[in-house]
Symmetry: C2
């Protein structure tokens, strides 16, 4: 077999994996949007059967031989190099995983998830702690198995979501970000400015129609996707079929609109990956932090910006009649109001990353064992009080609020903040290339910023590693400065700081 | 391995196959209902990848060993016996299929389907004939390979859709049916009675709302299914997730309503199969002819009956305002009008089986070679003229109208007529057990007939072979008499014959 033949065999195999991953993704999408209530039990079996097939394909031993031969390719193009790099990554990880660990984790995750849901409803952390301990132990075992020699255990898990990232590199950035954010939050809490509130009637059909319109304005291609309702909004799919979902709160239309913009951002990224990379290892997203930067760009730097508010207000007035707001500035203020809540997902831009940073610190301490699981509830409350100035009244508003840890997702949280850092750095770079960005937002004609993102980020898929991709797009390594500058400007204006 | 362990291993394997078949079914459903236009290419790859996985599982050689051992079970229960019988059937068929034939067929089918679609649009049979010849040759090869010693080749294909059926057994029934139907059609054509026509405004949302209501009236369980629109209505799924689709013609609401009743009938069957049979070989449908009997029962013996017309008219008047019809009898007449068309799928109850019977005869002659492919267009027109009294003006209204042969579906058509025969025999038997069936239809309270069908047909799945199941339910082997009596009574009343 020549290196070229071996590469073709690898890609053929990867394409089949990709097709079945897409099928599994569709099953998951359907479960959240279309499936009737009694379809759940057999859906679980369908997903389990597909997962088993995928596991077999991913660990097919022929891949190692093909890869070894294909790595002898003479001066491969960047996309081919990326294919080989990604397959090597996956095979190395798979080869290091002890037999049975994946199954044990899947079992523990599923059990732990159910225990967590009940514990959260009961606000009873003690009921969840043992299950969390078991999942953590398995993830620690996984980290020990897959880590490179001398690699930090947390980094070994983080790498799955954010290839190439490390605690050593993030920690100083995150520390300065935390300092800036707690300072900003202090000043906001000291402000006497009160935010206006939207009021009116917001029928579901009008909300969904406006959501469709906004997604289209951003450049979302409905010929390659669709928009539906889901309890927890998400985007899914790739290539020619990238679907988004949103939720509707009849009392508050901004829930629906910003969830739509967020998921549209994710979907625009997937829709923008170059067609020749589709269904290839090089055609994935660069990292979760890059993916999240796209959702945050459209949600926060477009949707919640002062410059976009006049356009948004016009559309909302057409859709709903009145909003009970005197001006576009009032809309801008109302959608950026900072409230004294406890829940991450309901948090505003000023507080969101403080939520993430505490989870990042806590989950590292949990993984290393420095923080015993049973002490988590107190540690959470202490840290929350330090950063937010108040203690959660119970664990349901504290350390039981997120689903992530119940499923053993350790190393995922920081990608949210990386997303916000990247989004702010991209927005700053984009403003340098498109000095009339505010004018563009004002007109609501968003083709130019989308083209910029397509060119700088989307089309590359996973060919360029995430850190390098962001540095190229932003003109240097991403740090806390653009995000802090953005937040200082926005909240300074609103709260007259 | 004990016979019990071997049986458990077989069932575990079958369950995995069933789960992946359900997944493939969902992909197909989504393609017809939800998928965005540009999702088609990757959907084809997803379905292909799943088909390859299923093919591997279905031909897993371990099954033969398990089955041989499990067949040593001591006095197995009927459902266990049915599991073993069905697995034996599938393995025997798979073992006899020459390597590569399935792939060659899949390729030819796909190519032939596209050629057919173009030829139909062009009304050009000569353009399609060579592709049809190639598909036929492969199906003939398949029949020769899978046939039992001495078995008729057509029977070998028919058996896949209608286990246990044979030409020898159907031919005399079909011959008498044809005689009865051509006689009835002659008399209808001689009648001077003209049918009333529905008129009014039938908005899509009102049609879909009424379709939902009617499906619910029949006992369709929306907690285990859903109703959507599709270009060509179909039902799909099994167990706790059985979905139906319907179409909407803004000019004519009966299209939507009868398509809904038809698909509801299919779905009620699937929803009624005993839960303990789900995802087992014994839990399939008994045959296509039994499946079709359920759709036809609800479409024709409920939906198009004189007794149901008052209830249906009330609901339609509420949904649409007016119908432009003076009475329930006028609705009954209008939905049973016999028109001089050429298209099977648009045909009424009186002519439908004549369409099928000619296809049955023609496809047998094609398979045996008695009818050369290039003579099909003329043979079709001759036969059509003999039965319907007129010649199709072109092949698009003649032998190019159906998709079936383009995909090599030989042996499938007769199951439509078996469905009509079974439905009429079941309706007659049901009337003996529920003498007030007309009263029930009049009230639109359909729980009793559904219970009867559940008990006699649905719950058994594939445990009892189709012919035996129908004979038990109907009090004897099914022949042409109940269907002819039903049609004579209905059309006699409408056309004053």
């Amino acid at each position: 077999m020549t290196p070229t033949e071996a590469y073709d065999a690898l890609l053929y195999h990867a394409r089949r994996i990709s097709a079945l991953e897409q099928a599994a993704g569709l099953l998951a999408w359907d479960q959240e949007t279309m499936m009737p209530p009694r379809g759940g039990a057999q859906r679980a079996e369908q997903m389990g059967a597909l997962a088993a097939v995928l596991q077999e394909l991913r660990t097919d031993p022929r891949q190692e031989d093909w890869l070894a031969t294909a790595e002898g390719l003479d001066d491969p193009a960047p996309d081919v190099r990326a294919d080989l790099r990604e397959i090597r990554r996956d095979l190395t990880r798979a080869a290091r995983l002890p037999a049975g660990l994946a199954e044990a984790l899947a079992r523990e995750r599923s059990a732990s998830h159910q225990i967590w849901a009940q514990a959260r409803a009961d606000r009873d952390f003690a009921a969840f702690a043992p299950a969390l301990g078991r999942v953590l132990a398995l993830r620690r075992e996984e980290a020990q198995a897959v880590a490179d020699p001398g690699q930090d255990l947390y980094d070994a898990l983080l790498d799955h979501y954010e290839p190439g990232a490390s605690v050593a590199q993030m920690e100083p950035v995150f520390a300065r970000l935390r300092e800036g954010l707690t300072g900003l939050l202090d000043r906001i809490r000291g402000s006497s400015v009160r935010m206006p509130k939207i009021s009116g009637a917001f029928p579901e059909t009008a909300q969904m129609a406006l959501a469709h319109e906004l997604a289209g304005h951003c450049g979302y291609d409905f010929a390659s996707g669709r928009l539906d309702r889901a309890v927890h909004p998400f985007s899914s799919g790739s290539g020619g079929d990238v679907r988004i979902t949103t939720r509707v709160d009849p009392a508050n239309p901004t829930e629906c609109l910003f969830a739509t913009l967020h998921e549209t951002g994710h979907a625009l990224y997937e829709q923008g990956i170059a067609a020749e990379l589709h269904m290839r290892p090089a055609g994935g997203h660069a990292s979760m932090g890059v993916h999240e930067s796209q959702s945050r760009f459209w949600e926060n730097h477009v949707g919640r910006s002062a410059a976009f508010a006049p356009f948004l207000r016009d559309r909302m007035k057409i859709a709903f009649g009145g909003l009970g707001l005197r001006s576009a500035d009032a809309l801008f203020a109302s959608v950026n109001a900072v409230a004294a809540g406890f829940i991450r997902t309901a948090s505003d831009e000023a507080q969101y990353d403080l939520h993430i940073l505490m989870r990042f610190d806590l989950e590292r301490a949990l993984l290393s064992g420095d923080l015993p699981v049973e002490d988590l509830e107190i540690a959470w409350a202490d840290r929350f009080e330090a950063d937010f100035g108040r203690r959660p009244p119970h664990a349901g508003l504290g350390c039981l609020q997120d689903v992530h840890w119940s499923e053993g997702l350790i190393g995922y949280f920081p990608t949210y903040t990386l997303g916000n850092l990247n989004a702010a750095a991209l927005a700053a770079a984009l403003r340098r290339d498109l000095p009339d960005f505010d004018e563009i937002l004002h007109r609501g004609d968003l083709a130019e910023p989308l083209d910029w993102l397509r060119e700088k980020v989307h089309r590359h898929g996973r060919v360029i590693p995430a850190g390098e991709l962001m540095a190229q797009a932003c003109g240097g390594p991403v740090d806390e400065a653009p995000l802090l500058a953005h937040l200082e400007a926005k909240f300074g204006a609103i709260y007259a700081l």
